[in-house]
């Protein structure tokens, strides 16, 4: 019994340890940097978090006695910690509110992510629906086709779009070839190209959860709806859509959250007009080498994204409660 309990506790501990090491610790470091000042030094902020010093100092009295030493050791750490807290300053966050570029980037990112999510939903739903209604024998193949793009690096696939979208690219060659256009379309370097890139890249993340909910839906529910007076369309609207909401929510979150922080697509396909927060962050970090401000941008982005994540979690809990 006890062994089983230990086994279970270890199992539960693994994801927590994972989160602690790979999420919480980096988060705290970034948070800490965001509260420091910019400095022309290496690393480029001050005061520097001096971990070896903390531990080195704490190690010294450990040789003499047991209990009081532990106390003094803890006290030493606490002093260090308070020393850091006293040096905290929120200048970086205040700075973010004073320059338009930051909040404009946040707004643009949220807008582009929201519109993309909507577009992906509109394109992905019919695809997922078609897959779920396809003959059973075809479904594994269709699923494979959706996953197939992942066999190539994301970066390469976005690069490929450059050669499709550029002025003398494949798309313009084709449209001019069939005589539809005289002047080439300027797509690359606009928000349109960013939308195309995001919709293309994130489509599978919408299709897969939607397919998973649609495929397990009971066909007889639609027949019951028709029997009670629905046309095929109203049955779809009143039964299929409401029952696929868990899939819609899951897919939208999987698309929206990473799309907000997207960097590669706006960087490669967008132009100077595309002010997305990922790019602003990158410029701050590598262009200006202002780590503290970049960290503050990242922390705010995280807080902005916590809202949809919490909403998503709530929805999942309710769905679970409803036994679905």
């Amino acid at each position: 019994m006890r062994g089983g309990g230990w086994g279970r506790r270890t199992l539960i501990a693994i994801p927590y340890a994972w989160l602690l090491v790979l999420f919480l610790a980096p988060f705290l470091i970034v948070l800490r940097i965001s509260l420091s000042d910019f400095a022309i030094s290496q690393p480029p902020y001050s005061p520097v978090l001096d971990l070896p010093a903390c531990f080195g100092e704490a190690d010294l009295p450990a040789a003499e006695g047991e209990a009081p030493d532990l106390l003094s050791c803890l006290g030493g750490w606490a002093d260090q910690f308070w020393g850091l807290v006293e040096e905290w300053d929120f200048d970086n966050y205040i700075w973010l509110t004073q320059d338009n570029i930051y909040w404009l980037s946040y707004i643009t990112s949220l807008e582009i992510a929201a519109v993309s999510t909507l577009l992906i939903l509109l394109i992905g739903y019919p695809i997922a629906y078609g897959m779920a209604r396809a003959p059973k024998a075809w479904q594994p193949t269709l699923l494979m086709l959706v996953i197939l793009p992942f066999w190539t690096s994301f970066l390469i696939r976005v690069y490929a779009w450059i050669s499709i979208l550029k002025t003398e690219g494949l798309l313009n060659q084709f449209l001019q070839g069939i005589g539809l256009l005289d002047e080439p379309l300027v797509i690359l370097g606009t928000n349109t190209a960013v939308y195309i890139g995001i919709v293309y890249s994130y489509l599978p993340f919408m299709v897969l959860p939607l397919y998973a909910t649609l495929v397990k839906m009971d066909e007889s529910l639609l027949e019951a709806a028709q029997d009670l007076g629905c046309t095929r369309f109203t049955a779809f609207w009143l039964v299929t859509i409401p029952l696929s909401i868990p899939g819609i929510v899951a897919g939208s979150m999987l698309v929206f959250i990473p799309a907000v922080g997207e960097f590669v697509v706006p960087d490669l396909l967008g132009g100077s007009e595309t002010l997305m927060i990922g790019r602003t962050l990158w410029t701050e970090f590598f262009g200006n080498r202002d780590w503290p401000v970049a960290s503050a941008v990242a922390i705010i982005l995280l807080l902005v994204l916590v809202v949809p994540i919490v909403l998503f979690q709530r929805h999942q809990d309710r769905a679970q409660e409803a036994g679905r």
């Binding site: 027949e223 028709q226 029997d227 009670l228 629905c230 046309t231 039964v239 409401p242 029952l243 409803a322």
Partner: protein, 405 residues
């Protein structure tokens, strides 16, 4: 044909003569008997005319013709895969016949989509909408008809009362027991007051006690509303309990359509006799055929059986004598020789005991097994007949049937 058997019609207690067309009313007590199928002037509510449904090469329904009358409680009975569901789905509009026509209330139904047919269906697994409350499930069809709000609420109340589910209106289907779900499904399919309600194995998911109780409730609801019910079942007890008439199906065809008592007492084929209840079948050759009775040679050197006549048979034909085990008397002594009495001797081979009944498996001297079923009126310990005993089996001349197929 002998004097036709007297069959009780359900619910009335009055009698009608089966096989006599046109005697639907005016039983001995003057009570009106519900038997529109005997009335050539009665207008059917539903009529299948030579309907065939092919799935690829397989005929799920094969050249089937059937009339169902208003207010009737009609049961389709048959083994799994015989085409019952397909027949019902064609009526509801989810499948269309490959050949033939289906008429409902004087209109041909081909091309009418399910949502425009005045029939409603209660699905086998209920198909309740999981995202809607009980009340919204029941109101679903009413809202599609654009009924005003007040009227919808009123009708939902009525339906909840009808199926005794007060107080559960706001629950979701997953918060209900199986029996409650079944009631919601019933209420939902009745809410639109369809001309006809189709029930596909409605009680299949319930346990035995609840099923039996619900069968009686179904009958009482049907009688109160006067809606025509078509129920699909593979459970013969269920069909016998609820139906005014039963159609026994086999491989897409109807083999017999008759009221429960008639179909039980006077099956027209071995298939029906065997499907409904238990039956002893003894093969023989027709020795004589008179107006009322026939004689069947079943074993050389033994007296022929005297049994009811069958106009389809003539002397020399192969035929089967069928008798229900409960109609066979079992005695240790030879029964007194009365005219028309049939008696055979054999050895008790096995005794099946199910508490209220005992079934004696008796091996006749030519090796055939005949079962006799007796109510256990005395305590098991005082039972007279035991294994290996020599016994006499006997029955009257009109207690069995003579079957041509």
């Amino acid at each position: 044909m002998p004097e036709p058997p007297v069959i009780l019609a359900k619910g009335t207690g009055a009698a009608t003569a089966a096989g006599h067309a046109g005697t639907a009313s005016g039983g001995p007590g003057g009570a009106k008997v519900f038997a529109p199928w005997n009335d050539p002037d009665a207008k059917p509510l539903v009529e299948f005319r030579s309907v065939t449904k092919l799935f690829g090469e397989v005929a799920a329904v094969d050249d089937l013709s059937l009339k169902i009358y208003p207010r009737e409680f009609f049961a389709l009975l048959g083994p799994s895969g015989c085409g019952k569901t397909t027949l019902m789905r064609m009526l509801a509009g989810f499948e269309s016949p490959t050949h033939g026509e289906i008429w409902l209330d004087g209109k041909e139904l081909t091309g009418t989509p399910p949502n425009r047919r005045p029939v409603n269906m209660m699905f086998q697994a209920y198909a309740l909408f999981p995202h809607l409350s009980v009340a919204d499930n029941i109101a679903f069809g009413l809202r599609r008809d654009g009924l005003p709000k007040g009227e919808v609420a009123e009708r939902v109340e009525q339906m909840l009362a009808l199926v005794q589910l007060h107080g559960l209106a706001t629950r979701r289907p997953h918060q209900l027991s199986g029996g409650q779900r079944q009631r919601v499904a019933l209420a939902r399919s009745l809410a639109k007051r369809p001309k006809m309600l189709l029930l596909d194995e409605p009680l299949g998911a319930l346990d035995k006690k609840l099923r039996e109780q619900t069968q009686f409730e179904l009958v009482s609801i049907q009688e109160r509303l006067g809606t025509t019910f078509l129920i699909v079942t593979h459970d013969q007890d269920e069909a016998m309990t609820v139906a005014d008439r039963i159609a026994v199906m086999d491989q897409g065809r109807l083999v017999q359509v008759a009221p429960p008592a008639q179909i039980y007492e006077y099956p027209t084929s071995r298939y029906v006799a065997d499907f409904l209840g238990d039956v002893n079948l003894i093969e023989g050759r027709v020795a004589a055929m008179a107006a009322e009775n026939a004689r069947l040679t079943w074993c050389e050197g033994r007296p022929d059986f005297t049994c009811p006549a069958n106009p389809d048979l003539k002397p020399g034909d192969t035929a089967w004598f069928g008798i229900r085990p409960e109609k066979v008397a079992i005695d240790k002594d030879m029964p007194p020789d009365r005219p028309g009495q049939n008696a055979v001797e054999g050895t008790v081979w096995d005794i099946g005991y199910v508490g209220n009944l005992s079934t004696y498996h008796v091996k006749l001297d030519d090796g055939q097994m005949v079962r006799a079923q007796v109510a256990n009126r005395v305590h098991l310990a005082r039972r007279e007949i035991s294994w290996e005993d020599r016994v006499w089996l006997s029955w009257g001349k009109d207690d069995g049937v003579l079957l041509a197929r």
